[in-house]
């Protein structure tokens, strides 16, 4: 039997034994399974990266409201805000790009599900804003996206990435962990630091509910994207300082799967609890879904 990589532990040891980066092992492993040779994965990564950039460019210029009328103008507000951003200009750019993408999504515009559509703003915002501000070459952006993809793949091996099954932790939470990996990769972090960034990001979103108001990917989804994009930055900053997750990553993923199972279906994309059943949400529902 060929060597399997279904857990982060195996990925880590494969990187260590062969002295390779995560994206290199990930590409070797995809190729070894027969269907996705390296060029095919790189081609999809390039296509996805280009589509992400296009969604950002379009989203930055657009103020068209969503079909429900509840959202669509937050990116514009953030771009034009003149106050002093304490986290600095790159962080402001990350938040802006996350909103731009997420707002394109709710307009039924073209986006990249990464890993899902509701969480589509997180990976592109972190990856592209950092790359622009630090002159990261396209091939390194692609390597970072493949690193993120490998993180998502390993989590998806254990649990479904649907909000209806695992809650928002499985969507925006996983996207944030993927973004943390991509960012730490671009900053030259070690394999250990990348994996810790993933563990730290996931550990701190366990139990995140999926309770969209009126059943639409708008409230709280749109604003959750910039929040969890910055969450990824925090994870990367801590991991780059060699802070480690005391609970190993594979155990964190197991905990996340269990948490998803324990969460009530009322809080998993059914819009029957949480924010979706607040007084204001019910009033909005009456106005919008008539």
């Amino acid at each position: 039997m060929k060597h399997n990589i279904t857990e982060f532990r195996q990925l880590y040891y494969a990187c260590k034994e062969q002295n390779k980066k995560i994206y290199e092992i990930a590409l070797d492993y995809e190729a070894s399974r027969g269907e996705n040779p390296e060029y095919k994965v790189r081609l999809q990564a390039k296509k996805s990266l280009d589509a992400m950039k296009e969604a950002i460019t379009t989203g930055l210029k657009c103020t068209e409201p969503s079909p429900s009328g509840m959202s669509g103008d937050d990116c514009d507000k953030l771009q034009n805000s003149k106050h002093n951003f304490i986290l600095g200009q790159t962080a402001k750019k990350i938040m802006t790009y996350a909103l731009a993408t997420s707002e394109q999504n709710l307009r039924m515009g073209t986006i990249v599900a990464c890993p899902t559509a509701g969480s589509c703003g997180i990976v592109p915002a972190v990856l592209i804003a950092f790359a622009e501000d630090n002159n990261i070459k396209e091939c390194d952006q692609i390597n970072a996206l493949i690193t993120a993809g490998e993180v998502g793949r390993l989590v998806a091996n254990k649990m479904s990435l649907a909000g209806a099954v695992g809650g928002c932790q499985a969507e925006c939470g996983v996207a944030s962990a993927m973004a943390a990996a991509a960012l730490t990769q671009m900053r030259g972090g070690s394999v250990k630091q990348i994996i810790n960034a993933v563990a730290l990001a996931l550990k701190n979103i366990l139990g995140l509910t999926c309770d969209p108001v009126c059943g639409l990917v708008e409230i709280p989804c749109v604003k959750r994207n910039p929040f969890l994009a910055i969450h990824a930055v925090t994870a990367s900053e801590l991991a780059m300082s060699d802070i480690i997750s005391k609970i190993p990553i594979d155990e964190v993923v197991d905990a996340m799967e269990q948490t998803g199972q324990l969460m009530s279906p009322l809080l998993k994309e059914s819009s029957q609890g949480g924010l979706a059943k607040t007084k204001t949400a019910i009033a909005l529902e009456k106005n919008i879904l008539k």
Partner: protein, 222 residues
């Protein structure tokens, strides 16, 4: 174990707003269309649980219909699908139901016409899908492989006859799933393959005794 790939995670490029509820719905529709493989007179879509409760807001109804019409997940027409000439040509309607024995994102496609067929599927996350049932047979189709679907009379030797024909084409079988309604009654076989089956191979399978349905279902491109 069937592992997902990096490509699944960093795609699809799609029309928003939800991978499971919009892109997943389109993909379920596309795969059901490939299975039915004819022009139906009428289609009823039964949406369950989260699909029923939040489907309208996520464009799940639009996505399912788009798939049945053969539109790709990134097709810009999905947003206004009900107004397209293609949609106006067919008779369809939607039902929204609750059944907690079903997956949170479950759908039934009920095709009526020259051939009546009910196809059930789930959107299992990140745009990934599974068809679970065709009429009363359990199947396991995810659209990632070219698949040969057979319905035939249950009797000894059918599996080996079919796999022998596939072997003659020098094609590798990735998975094989069988089910039957009762001993000696209708049975089904779902064979996922690597590569392509030739026309000749399909003809030979069709010529086997008591083969009722032979469908070659192409893997999904989007």
């Amino acid at each position: 174990m069937n592992q997902s790939s990096i490509i699944d995670i960093i795609s699809p490029i799609m029309a928003g707003p939800s991978s499971s509820h919009t892109a997943g719905a389109v993909r379920l529709g596309l795969l059901a269309r490939n299975v039915y493989n004819a022009k139906p007179d009428k289609i009823t879509f039964k949406l369950y649980n989260s699909y029923a409760l939040t489907g309208k807001g996520h464009g799940t109804d639009k996505g399912l219909l788009a798939g049945i019409l053969g539109f790709a997940v990134d097709d810009k027409r999905i947003k206004n699908i009900f107004e397209t000439p293609e949609a106006k040509e067919i008779d369809y309607h939607f039902e929204f139901l609750q059944d907690f024995n079903r997956h949170p994102n479950a759908v039934d496609f009920i095709f009526e016409g020259g051939l009546n067929m009910t196809i059930s599927g789930d959107s299992v996350g990140a745009g990934e899908i599974k068809l679970r049932k065709i009429n009363n047979f359990c199947v396991n189709l995810d659209g990632k492989y070219n698949t040969l679907l057979l319905v035939y009379e249950d009797m000894p030797g059918v599996i080996s006859s079919v796999t022998k024909i596939i072997q003659e084409d020098n094609v590798n079988i990735a998975s094989l799933h069988c089910d039957r309604s009762a001993k000696g009654r209708d049975a089904s076989m779902c064979i996922c393959i690597d590569g392509e089956l030739s026309k000749n191979c399909l003809n030979k399978v069709s010529d086997l005794k008591d083969m009722y349905i032979v469908r070659y279902i192409k893997k999904l491109e989007s």
